[in-house]
Symmetry: C2
């Protein structure tokens, strides 16, 4: 999760919402990435999507057996769908996201009948550091008139 936090900080430095993710298999990091939606002009380039795609490419398989995801923010609806398709084993995430999350918030996708693979999920890992990165990022960008 420290590596995911470092990727989140790097994403913030690039002007992206600071979220980072790492994809791990058998104790080895297959991929580590942060958000790149603005940089790549790609609305799907969330940190989670980037590491899933990179790890699947490394393994040459669209199913990531025995792989675990570490991500600094609760995954959104799109990423929850991708996590399920990728057959990830476990998801460890930092801060909860009541406005956009889809694990414990929103559509709670892994508990739905249209979800056909449900990973184990563990929230709150590095929660304080993850949330602080997001708070700082948005505080710096807030218009003075709105403070």
């Amino acid at each position: 999760m420290l590596l995911a936090l470092a990727e989140a900080a790097k994403a913030g430095g690039r002007g992206e919402v600071p979220v980072g993710a790492v994809l791990v298999r058998n104790g080895t990091a297959l991929a580590a990435e942060g958000n790149r939606m603005r940089e790549l002009a790609d609305p799907t380039a969330h940190a989670e999507m980037m590491v899933i795609r990179a790890a699947a490419s490394v393994l040459g398989n669209d199913r990531l057996a025995e792989c675990d995801l570490y991500v600094t923010l609760e995954p959104c609806t799109m990423c929850a769908g991708a996590i399920s398709f990728a057959r990830l084993r476990r998801v460890y995430y930092g801060a909860s996201d009541p406005k956009g999350g889809a694990i414990e918030s929103g559509v709670r996708f892994f508990a739905q009948p249209t979800c056909h693979h449900k990973p184990e999920t563990y929230g709150g890992l590095g929660e304080r550091e993850s949330a602080e990165l997001l708070r700082e990022f948005f505080a710096e960008r807030r218009w003075p008139g709105r403070l």
Copy 2:
């Protein structure tokens, strides 16, 4: 939708689940693609994701203003999330997907509070042809013992 159906048929010919999509802006097709999950070893390579990413790349913007999506099958949870992030204007889809869809089925994402952009949606366009492609594909792959 005829172009999306042609992409679906081509995807089936490549051994992929036959779903095709086209991204249109002002009457011009910016991208047309079919599923490529197996070929690219990428669990996120659904037809909808492929055309959203391609069109965003063409426009150099992660928000696809005034763009409409044509897709042969009701989008899944992952794709519904991506459609919302991409700010698509309208989604026209063929067959419904009660087992995996997320528009009129499953999580009905566009009706949820964690969905922050809701496109107009129109189902049933080319429904018969879309469903027939899927039926043929799965019938050919079904084990004789299960028929």
